[in-house]
């Protein structure tokens, strides 16, 4: 019995999708979902279906664009790509997450004297 999988915080999935697209370039929904699973080492509880709500939200904000195309194995699929605006947003959000993670790390590492060990 391993550790139970992580529930995704609100908004984190959007950031993961953006980062995945920034790193991999144009990609379809299944590819994005698989990539996130692989990178997280299957530690994230992700129903692949939920990725589509995230995709439409990002698309409506203008952070990603979508286009029907053909995959390597000749299958029709909808391909998503990050836009310039999406990259800007990604940079902002990533910085914010890193800062938050840093702060959280320091706060949680606090010992009884109130200093860091």
């Amino acid at each position: 019995m391993g550790e139970s999988k992580l529930d995704l915080l609100q908004g984190t999935l959007d950031l993961m999708v953006l980062q995945t697209l920034a790193a991999m370039g144009s990609q379809h929904g299944y590819g994005i979902a698989r990539r996130i699973e692989q990178v997280s080492g299957d530690a994230v509880l992700l129903n692949q279906g939920t990725i589509y709500a995230s995709l439409v939200r990002l698309q409506q904000r203008g952070w990603i664009s979508a286009e029907w195309g053909t995959s390597d194995n000749n299958r029709k699929a909808k391909f998503y790509a990050i836009t310039a605006q999406g990259r800007k947003q990604l940079a902002e959000d990533a910085a914010y997450w890193k800062r938050l993670a840093g702060v959280m790390g320091r706060v949680l590492a606090m010992d009884q004297e109130g200093g860091n060990s």
């Binding site: 692949q48 709500a53 904000r61 995959s71």
Partner: protein
């Protein structure tokens, strides 16, 4: 920010492109699964296992789709549309319920829109002038001598204008102009028209711009100026066929050529604001220099300087008033406008126009609000009855996963749809009602002709429709959605006691409905009884079987004496000719008629007696011919004037009983002498007081001079007949035309209509409140009937058992009626208690009726009980006729 905006736009766009987006999503998800299956196959799974794993990893397909739709579109609106479709479907199925509910709502909301429009027009909306809040009506302290004591002389007006600093300008109009005072000739038969003289600056001060042409210039208000006239919009259309080139043309008014200088806009209705119901056709400049000796003739309206409050203006007016002179040539007349207590009357023009009506309008508004409340309670009740039969439907939906909020939402949507339909039908009804009201010239209410459904009335409609929907939908909604699923699903039919709690709530609603209707009914009863008392007032004359017409005559002569003599001959001729007409019983003339215009001049004192100065007010003056007293049906002690009471004989007068009591208390006034300082006049008769000023007010003092000795201002011919007055109109006009071809076709008015006009505001309010009360009663009756009828249906089996065990029809009937009476009496008791409070609140509107008038209370309570009995009797009879065998077999 821009991103959120873009998202919102995209969401709305997606909302309208559901089909293609859904198809695209399906395709996308299908390809997603294929990718997954393919990858799983590559890993060496069996085809079946590959597909199973792919589906597991994907999660719920329906949930994912739903999540996608909610994210991309407008879920709230989607749900609303869904509820709307469902509502329309259920309402269509339940047609009878829908029609009744919408009809009740339409009547309730329609009545509210009409009353709101009336209130809005008269109380809330500003007057149709520029910056109307600056306009102030200026009047001397109130006295009992009618219009003459409520107006100013030409000198006083000029003085007030030059002495005061608070005003941008002061204006006014001639207070003593009468209907049909102009004769338009040159267009076929002489046409009567109504004109009024206004100060040269009248329209500038009010801020009214002409629709065509120009306003008066200061020069045109000076002595000797060439006569000019401004036309009202409606006269320009009616009489001159809306001639676009009318400006500059000349018309003949009272035999004088007058130049038309302009046409006023349709939005300016002098009559609607200043003398409710009157239609003014023409406006001419008042030439004050010609009117210095005419006494008090003008009203005053001021426009405050910016930043000056009405309180400051009032304070200043109190300082100015003692300096005002009736005539600057007569120093002894200075200061009389200050009155005994120096209480100048300044009111905003709005207050002057409609302030008196405020309380009536507020009462009317409350009454109609009460109606809406009853409508809501009634609908709540109907919906609860419907809810009873829909319990299972909702239990089923709950079992299938609908949340409570979702169900309440569904029910509120239903209420909203009903109330929106009611509001739309109500608007239609209100539109018709308002159109009708706007054309009721016989109702003497200010601004009534300008009533219309405007933007604020529409906003009000939306507001009350939503409020009503929330009110009548929420209670049944919460009630229904909170019922227990299992109970409801198990409960497979009538006969079980699921109704108990339900019925208690419905009973409470019916009781409150009865109580509200009771309050309305008693309030309306009190107002109705007051109105009957008003109609019962002894006016001092007989309005039935008499009619009047304004008579044109020419008594111009070089001297006063010759003029009097000429006039006497003309009047005598006219009256002889008219009296000879078949059906005419009596005829006479007076310059003013009771309940119309009036005036006062002089303060005669009893000869040989001294009264403290100022203790004798001036009586209202009427100049009449012999026969007038009889034609009006007034009661006379002593003798009437005769044609031989002329300038050669002794001066004579008639006085009224009130004046006689003050002049010669405890003595018979007939034969005694009055003096006006210069001349003695003999009192030849005493007439009973007539209501000269108002129907409801106390009559003041009146004095009558003979037209054969004093100068009348125009002549109103009064004819008394046993025939319907209208049948004489042609004959009388024909007789007048024979003597004077210039006689215009003036209106032949039954005296009754003059009285009706005077009581028309009260009649208007009473009529509306009574209609509302009847509607309320009807709704309450429906409510009682509904509840009792429902409970009889629910208890069919129980009643059947009781009858099988030996209960007689009488028992059953009495049982149901008893139940009805418990509901009705509880409501009536609550309503009666509330009515005592309401009665006290409307006491100021009552006439000759106590707020706790026992007759009204008893009568209205009896009406409620009888109606409740009828409402209960119908289902009671049905219950008594239940066939026990059938009832028991039924379930």
């Amino acid at each position: 920010m821009i991103d959120s905006l873009r998202r919102a736009v995209n969401r709305v766009r997606s909302f309208f492109r559901k089909e293609p987006l859904d198809q695209e999503l399906n395709a996308e998800m299908a390809s997603h699964l294929e990718f997954a299956v393919e990858e799983n196959l590559r890993r060496g799974m069996s085809a079946e296992e590959a597909r199973r794993q792919a589906l597991i990893r994907f999660g719920g397909i329906m949930q994912a789709k739903e999540q996608h739709r909610e994210t991309r579109g407008l879920p709230t609106l989607d749900i609303f549309l869904q509820d709307l479709r469902y509502t329309l479907r259920t309402l269509r199925r339940d047609r009878a319920f829908t029609i009744v509910a919408v009809l009740i709502l339409a009547l309730g909301i329609g009545a509210n829109i009409v009353v709101f429009s009336v209130v809005n027009t008269m109380l809330l909306r500003p007057l149709p002038f520029s910056n109307p809040q600056e306009l102030v009506w200026i009047a001397p302290p109130p006295q009992k001598c009618g219009l003459s004591c409520a107006t100013y002389s030409a000198d006083a007006y000029d003085q007030f204008r030059s002495l005061s600093r608070s005003w941008q300008d002061v204006t006014g109009y001639m207070a003593f102009s009468t209907a049909d005072n102009l004769r338009l000739t040159g267009h076929g038969e002489p046409q009567p028209a109504t004109g009024i003289e206004v100060m040269g600056n009248f329209f500038q001060v009010l801020g009214v711009q002409p629709a065509m042409g120009r306003l008066f210039t200061p020069d045109e208000a000076r002595h000797g100026a060439s006569p000019v006239v401004l036309l009202s919009d409606h006269w320009w259309r009616r009489q001159f066929a809306a001639d676009p080139d009318i400006v500059g043309k000349k018309i003949d008014l009272n035999g004088m050529p007058v130049t038309i200088i302009g046409v006023l806009p349709a939005s300016f209705d002098f009559g609607a604001v200043f003398s409710p119901g009157a239609k003014i056709d023409a406006f001419t400049p008042e030439i004050l220099d010609d009117e210095r000796t005419w006494g008090n003739i003008v009203t005053m309206i001021g426009r405050l300087k910016p930043g000056v409050t009405i309180g400051q203006a009032q304070a200043e007016a109190l300082l100015v008033a003692p300096h005002l002179c009736w005539s600057i040539k007569m120093p002894q007349t200075c200061g009389q406008y200050a009155g005994p207590d120096n209480s100048m009357q300044l009111h905003t023009l709005k207050d002057y126009v409609s302030g008196r009506l405020r309380r009536s309008l507020v009462v009317l508004w409350c009454a109609v609000g009460l109606i809406l409340l009853i409508v809501c309670v009634n609908l709540s009740n109907l919906l609860l009855a419907r809810a009873a039969s829909r319990t299972r439907e909702f239990a089923m939906r709950t079992a299938l996963g609908a949340s409570r909020g979702r169900l309440v939402r569904q029910l509120l949507t239903e209420s909203l749809v009903l109330s929106a339909a009611g509001a739309i039908c109500g608007l239609g009804l209100a539109y018709a009602g308002i159109l009708w009201l706007a054309h009721q010239g016989s109702i003497a209410l200010p601004l009534l002709s300008s009533i219309r459904i405007d933007a604020s009335a529409l906003a009000w409609t939306i507001l009350i429709a939503i409020a009503a929907a929330a009110f009548f939908g929420l209670a049944p909604g919460l009630k229904m959605s909170s019922s227990n699923v299992q109970e409801a699903l198990k409960d497979s039919g009538p006969g079980t006691s699921e109704g108990r709690k339900h019925e208690r709530m419905r009973s409470a609603l019916v009781i409150s409905e009865v109580a509200l209707a009771c309050v309305l009914l008693i309030g309306a009863g009190l107002l109705m009884r007051s109105f009957l008392k008003v109609l019962d007032i002894d006016l001092g004359f007989q309005p039935e079987h008499a009619a009047s017409i304004k008579v044109d005559y020419d008594d111009s002569a070089p001297t006063e004496e010759a003029s009097v003599a000429k006039r006497s001959v003309i009047f005598q001729q006219i009256l002889e000719r008219v009296k000879a007409l078949p059906g005419v019983e009596a005829a006479g003339m007076a310059d003013f008629l009771p309940l119309g215009q009036n005036r006062a001049w002089g303060t005669p004192t009893p000869k040989g007696k001294t009264f403290a100065p100022g203790s004798l007010p001036g009586p209202l003056v009427y100049v009449i011919t012999p026969g007038f007293v009889e034609a009006m049906g007034m009661r006379l002690h002593g003798r009437d004037f005769t044609w031989s009471d002329d300038l050669k004989s002794e001066r004579v007068v008639l006085i009224n009983a009130s004046a006689a009591r003050v002049y010669w208390p405890g003595e018979d006034a007939v034969g005694k002498f009055l003096t006006n300082g210069k001349q003695d006049v003999r009192v030849v008769g005493v007439v009973d007081d007539i209501h000269a000023d108002s129907v409801e007010g106390q009559p003041g003092w009146q004095i009558y001079y003979p037209a054969t000795q004093d100068g009348p201002e125009g002549a109103q011919l009064v004819v008394r007949t046993a025939l319907p007055p209208a049948s004489l109109a042609g004959g009388v006009l024909h007789a007048l035309r024979e003597l004077n071809p210039k006689q215009p076709a003036a209106e032949f008015r039954p005296i009754r209509t003059i009285v009706d006009r005077a009581v028309s505001p009260r009649r208007f309010f009473v009529l509306l409140v009574t209609v509302f009360a009847e509607f309320g009663l009807l709704l309450a009756t429906l409510g009682i009937y509904g509840v009792i009828s429902y409970s009889v249906t629910q208890q069919t089996q129980e009643i059947g058992i009781r009858m099988a065990l030996g209960a007689t029809q009488g028992h059953v009937l009495r049982g149901v009626l008893q139940k009805t009476m418990i509901l009705a009496i509880t409501g009536i008791v609550l309503g009666t208690v509330a009515s005592v409070v309401v009665g006290r609140w409307i006491a100021a509107l009552l006439f000759g009726t106590k707020p706790t008038d026992p007759v009204t209370f008893a009568a209205m309570i009896a009406v409620m009980i009888v109606v409740a009995l009828i409402a209960g009797y119908i289902p009671a009879r049905r219950a008594a006729r239940i066939n026990p065998m059938v009832a028991l077999r039924g379930n």
